[in-house]
Structure formats: C-alpha cells, structure tokens
C-alpha cells in the first residue's frame, strides 16, 4: 500500500513559540496512525493545520498523491479531511439525523423530506455498526454516543482522513470499547485514521503505526508499532527514561483528619461515610457515574447536602458552601479544569490569588506586590512552565493549569484536606510525575489527600487506600497491601458477573 496522507516539512510558529518545526511523516491507506507527545509537543497544532483551521508557515500536506492548498476548515472538509475535537460540535436540541444532515438538509423548496432524512441516516449508521436511533435528540445521548454521531457525520461526508483528538478521555471503558470497534471498521473501509491519545494501552491496541512529537519536532516515527515497546515510546516523548512514573513512597499516618458521616444529596442518594488520616492519600475509584465526583462535591459544599456532617480534626464544618469548606481547611481541585477550575481571560497570578488574597488584602484592597510575590513563589515551587506570571491561564498546558490550581490552594492558610478530582486527566507523562511528587510532599507534611481517578493504574500507583464506588454506594475499601486489579475492578462493576469479561487492556498496568 502506498502513502496516502503525507505531511511534508510542516513548520508553524506563533509569537515566542515554534509550535512545529519541519515535521514530516506519512500514513498508509487503511491505517490507524497514533500521534503521541507531551502537552505542548505540537499535536494540537498539527491537527489544526490538518483541519484547515490554521495554515502552516511552510511545508505542505498531500492526500492520495495530490498536494492540498486548502485555507479553511471548509476546504479541508471538501478535500475529505475531518477532525473530531474533544469538544464535540453537535447541536444538542436537534436529532441525530438532523445533526448529520445539518447544512444540506434533503428536500425541496426548503421543506425537509423527513423520511429521507431519517432513513438515509439509519442505513449509514447500521452500515458502520452504530446502534443509535436517528430520531433521538442529541441532548439525550451520552458523551460516548455523541462521539459516535460525530464519527458518523464524518462518514456521511465521505471523509477520507479522520483525525480524533483524545476521543476516549471522557468515555467510560464500555463506551471506549464501542469506539474501538467502530475505528476497526473504518480502517477496514480504507479510511485513514489519525489518533491522538495519551493512553499507551489504546495506542498499542488500535494503531498500526505511530508518530511521536516532542517540542514541535518529530521525535520518532514507527511504521510498524509492533516493533516498539512502551518504555521506548515514553522515553521518546519525554526525552528521558522514566522507570516508575508513580514513585510511591510509604508514609506514617497520624490521627483522623477528615471524618465524613452519612452525607447525601440530590445526586448521591445513599448516605456515605468515610474517614481519612493525616498524611494519608485515599483514592476513589469507580466507573463514570459511580458517584465519586458527586460525593466530593458534597464534602466540599459545591452541591448542597440533604443530610450528614463533615468534620476536620474533630471540628464540624458549619455549613455546606465552598467558602465554609475552605475556612475549615478543605479544598477541591475540580475534575473539569476548563469548566470549573480556571478563570479564563485572567492571568496566572489572579487565578492563584483568587482565594488566598483575602488574607492579605486589608479592607478588600489588593496588595499587588504581595500577589506578585505569591505567584512567583508558587510558579517556582510547583515548576509552572510559563514566560511570566501575567500569562493568561488559557495559554498554559493542562499540566501547568493544574499546577496553578494547586498553587491557588497551597497559598491558602491552613489547608488540611486536599481533594483532587482526576489529577492528571489530559496531562502528559512528565507533568504527571511532577504532580504526584507534589501530592506525596503535601501528604508527608500531614495533609490528608483524596484522589479521584478513572485510571486504575494511577489510583493503585499513588494511593495508600482505595474506596471503590459503584452506583452511588461504597463497594469496597481496600488497603494498599491488598491492592489487586481484578478485585478493585470487580467491585466497581455494577454486575459482578461481568468481571470475567473484562477487556484485558483495563487490567494491564503500564
């Protein structure tokens, strides 16, 4: 088979950053090609250039032997290139079929031919094996199903090249499975799939070939993925060997720090209790929708509690609101950084000082010097990579944004309990280790830490104890010495009988 999609010496610079430098590689027809690299390595820029959203400074893209000169997303679309972003581009209030036809509804004189609308879509969906009712509203679908609709949209448009940007980052493992089989089918139809992911397991499982980017340059190109190892890819990504990315260190635990008694709320009906000792890192594991985030939001007071109490060092937190929690020493790094964590359009300094500035702003009047000192201190301490503290937080990579949010809380006074929801989602390998290190250090200082993660290897790698949740209930509470992948996973599944049918990639640790 010949090379179908070719990147030829693509370079793209932004003021101050060379996002891509002379990147060349090619992908064969009917191949799933992985694209890996740390955040900021240039993956997103490459995808943007491919999608026509941005044009390269130099270099060109060729598809099926012909050089492309497209200048817009529309041109790329006409050339058969479709990029599916993490933020899905569907209209929630329209049906699946309407979304798929959007922009070119079938019919005469503006009157839509409804039967054709649904029937063609139904055919197409069954052709590629997607079981979704065409007349269902997109708003009623799960995130996984919406992703399928996006892919169906690409197929409907006769896309020849489909690029997926971290498609499984918000999918449950079951939804991911369905996505994998859909990708397999697209491959057998001769499509070229460009697959961006941070997950080595799925890269090995899905991809035929792989390109690794580092600092905007081509770090490695593997035409045959079976010839490489995980360790090799990781070291290509970071440019150094990482033997053990967890770096777990045992600690002594102190007295009970956090005591949660019988809390419940509208999204977590069954009352839940647990305790956490000084210096302990407690992991919460469960499938998406198991109630982990809902539980932490109740503890933090982000959602209101219908019952139950939260105590820190034996003192009950008086009310359930974030300000009360913060004063009691409980802080939260939320799951969705973009939606709930960062304040867009504000710089690093302001994002860090947003809570702690009340301690050093007499009568509510700001002290710019102190805020600057504080920002510089935590930028250095947490090794936030940024040209300056005045940088808009939107321009930082995920890992650096997470560090800024950590800095927001570490600059608070008397933090005793840190709740961190999906600490490393969308964060590259190098920054992951740094964040784990920060957590260990905080725990060693006596902080009690709650880690919520959907990645089993991560929870097992860094925590002292794991509470497994399933359908809004505690399913198991396991100490580190008794950690066992199968046991944890079995407890997380709603129907334990399914445990034996688990996909293997779920239980492999990386």
């Amino acid at each position: 088979m010949q090379d179908f999609l070719e990147f030829k010496a693509i370079s793209k610079g932004y003021p101050g950053v060379q996002a891509l430098a002379d990147v060349s590689f090619s992908v064969k027809k009917g191949a799933v090609h992985g694209l890996m690299g740390e955040n900021g390595a240039g993956k997103s820029t490459l995808i943007r250039v491919l999608s026509g959203d941005q044009s390269a400074d130099t270099g060109e893209i060729s598809i099926d032997g012909s050089t492309q000169h497209y200048r817009s997303v529309r041109d790329a679309f006409d050339a058969g290139v479709i990029v599916i972003h993490q933020e899905l581009q569907l209209v929630p209030e329209l049906t699946v079929a309407e979304n798929l036809w959007l922009g070119r509804f079938p019919g005469k004189a503006g009157v839509i031919d409804r039967s054709r609308l649904t029937n063609v879509v139904r055919e197409k969906l069954s052709e590629i094996g997607i079981e979704i009712e065409p007349s269902a509203k997109v708003a009623s679908l799960s995130i996984g199903e919406r992703q399928m609709v996006e892919i169906a949209k690409a197929v409907m448009a006769d896309a020849r090249v489909i690029a997926l940007d971290e498609p499984t980052s918000s999918l449950s493992s079951r939804e991911s499975e369905i996505l994998y089989s859909l990708i397999e089918r697209l491959r057998s139809q001769g499509k070229v799939i460009l697959y961006v992911s941070h997950r080595l397991d799925e890269i090995f499982r899905l991809c035929d070939s792989l390109t690794v980017l580092r600092d905007g340059k081509l770090a490695a190109h593997h035409a045959d993925i079976t010839a490489v190892t995980r360790e090799q890819i990781i070291s290509e990504m970071v440019g150094r060997e990482i033997s053990n990315i967890w770096g777990y260190r045992p600690r002594e635990f102190g007295d009970v720090r956090l005591e949660v008694k019988e809390i419940a709320g509208s999204k977590l009906r069954t009352p839940m209790s647990f305790t956490l000792r000084q210096g302990e890192i407690l992991g919460f594991f469960g499938l998406i929708g198991a109630g982990r985030s809902e539980m932490t939001r109740l503890v933090y007071g982000a959602d209101s509690r219908s019952q139950g109490t939260v105590s820190v060092d034996g003192v009950q937190v008086t009310a359930d609101s974030p300000p009360h929690a913060i004063r009691a020493g409980i802080v939260l790094c939320p799951e969705d950084r973009k939606l709930d964590g960062i304040v867009q359009g504000r710089n690093i300094e302001e994002n860090m000082a947003i809570s702690s500035r009340r301690h050093f702003s007499p009568f509510g009047i700001l002290q710019p010097k102190k805020e600057a000192e504080l920002a510089e201190q935590f930028i250095a301490k947490l090794r936030v990579r940024t040209p300056s503290r005045k940088q808009d937080i939107v321009n930082l990579s995920g890992g650096n944004q997470q560090k800024v949010i950590l800095g927001r809380w570490l600059s608070e006074q008397g933090v005793k309990v840190l709740i961190i929801d999906e600490p490393t989602r969308g964060i590259d390998v190098g920054a992951k280790s740094e964040i784990y290190e920060i957590l260990y250090e905080l725990a060693a200082q006596g902080m009690a830490i709650v880690v919520i993660s959907s990645e089993l290897p991560e929870v097992m790698g860094i925590t002292d104890r794991i509470v497994v949740m399933c359908q809004g209930r505690v399913a198991a509470d396991i100490e580190r010495d008794d950690f066992d992948e199968r046991r944890i996973l079995a407890a997380a599944l709603p129907d334990v009988a399914n445990a034996s049918q688990l996909p293997n990639q779920q239980v492999q640790s990386r």
């Binding site: 359009g345 504000r346 947003i354 009340r358 702003s361 509510g364 700001l366």
Partner: protein, 316 residues
Amino acid sequence: MTSLKKLLLGEQGLVVIFAIAFAIVAATVPNFLTERNMLGLLQSVVTIGIVACTMMFCLASRDFDLSVGSTVAFSGMIAVMASNATGSIVVGLIAALLCGGAVGLVNGVVIARFRINALITTLATMQIVRGLALIASDGRAVGINDPGFYQLALSKFLGIPTPIWVMAIFFVIFGFVLNRTVFGKNTLAIGGNPEASRLAGVNVSRMRIWIFALQGLVCAVAGVLLASRITSGQPNAATGLELSVISACVLGGVSLAGGRAAMTGVIVGVLIMGIAENVMNLLNIQAFYQYVVRGLILLLAVLLDNLRSAAAGRRG
C-alpha cells in the same frame, strides 16, 4: 500588523481614536472647544456617566440591568416627594437612596438566589418601577418646593458644577474598586468563569446581589441630581437610559460576555456618546438623525471590539 493597526486595535486603541476624534471636532466645529460648551457637554453626560460606573460591574460579571432608567426616574421622584413632604432635603436624599437600593436589592436577590435570568428580571422591574413612579405622582411632574434642592445641580466648586464633580468622584472610586479591590477582581472572575469562581471560594450569589444593590444606589444618586437639574420629579425621566448606558459601556470595551472591563474605557465611551450628541446639536442636526448616528457609533464600536479580540486571540 502595521503599526497603525497595532495602535488602533491595541489596549489603548479606543483612547487613541477618541483623542483623534476630539482633535478633529475641536478644530472643525465652531464653539465646540469653549468652556461653556465643555461644561454643558459634561453636564449632559452626568446621568449616563454615573450609572455606567456600576453598569460596568454588572456587565463584567456577565449580568445585565435594564431597570436603571426607571430606577433613576423613580428615586428622583421619591427624593422630591419626600423632601416636599418633610421639608428636609436630607430626608429626601435618604429616601431616594433607600428606594434605589431596594430596587437593586430585589433585582439581585431574584437573579442570584432564585436564578432568574437577569434580562427577564430587570425587564420586569424596569416596568414595575416605572409604574410605581407614575402611580406615586399620578403621572404628573412633581415640582420642587425647597429652592435648596436646586442647589444640588446648580452649585459649583472651583467653577465646575457639582454633578460633574460627583461623576468624576464616582469614576475614581469605581475605577479603584474595579482594579484594586477584591470586589473588583471577584467581579471579573465571576464574569470570566462563574462556576470556577464559586468553587474557588468566591461567594458568587452574594457578589451578584451586592453588584445589583450598588447599581440601585448609584441610580438613586443619578436620579437625585437629574431631578435637581430639571427642577422636578418627572415620572417619565430617563426613558431609554439603560440602552445609552449599556452602549457607553460597550463602546468602552466592556464585554457583554463578561470578564472584561476597564474604567478608562467606560469614561471614553461615555464621552464619545456625549460629544456625538453635542456636536450634532452645535451643527443643528435634526434630533431624528441623532438616533441613527448613535446607533451607527455603537455598531462601529462593536465591530472594532470584534477586530480587537480577534487580534488579541492571534497574539495569544
């Protein structure tokens, strides 16, 4: 980007455009750059200028207040009626501030606690409050009994009328509040991302209530000054004020999507509105054309803002 483009689309682009426009007008329009006309111009923008101070906070926190015009008229009425009834101007002022503050508080509580859309809430209170002003006065203007009341608008300090001083002081105070206080930063943070601000410990609903209550109080101040200037409480005063104020803010680069505001911008926005009207009056342009021109200025400002954020996006 060429340097001209950079200048016009940069941070201070609006100020530059304003300076150029001012220079051209000063050179070409007769009687424009006289002390009398300048003071008249400033007098004419006092109401818009004062209300724009808090409207800026409202917009910056992703909210909206349509009830300002009605509140200005209502609190002006109350000031006149209360001082007529009690014979004390101070009582009249306090009554006006209480009423203005109360309207703002109701807006804030309904919007923040009951989570009703700000546009709808203030559209409702705009009509309710206008109705109250008409009911209280039986639809007629209420004349001021105590000549001392006129002095609020007529008195001068260093040759400049008091209302202009009040406006200037408000500009300074709210500029400070926006840039140098926790209140201001929290306002911008809420506008930037309300949920993230809440989870970061900002008491978002209390902030919103405060912003609306402040807006009401400031409207009362503007209402009192307006009543003093027109020597009566007029139930139909300040109709359409909300649109002029929001226009001035948007002209001044305040983002309707929240999170972006600057006091200097708002001041320039207010002045541009004032100059446009002033110049048209000086040139004897018919009032009907003035609506068209004001609309065009607003459209141009929004287009410019769009270009500016696109330029900023590319830089980022």
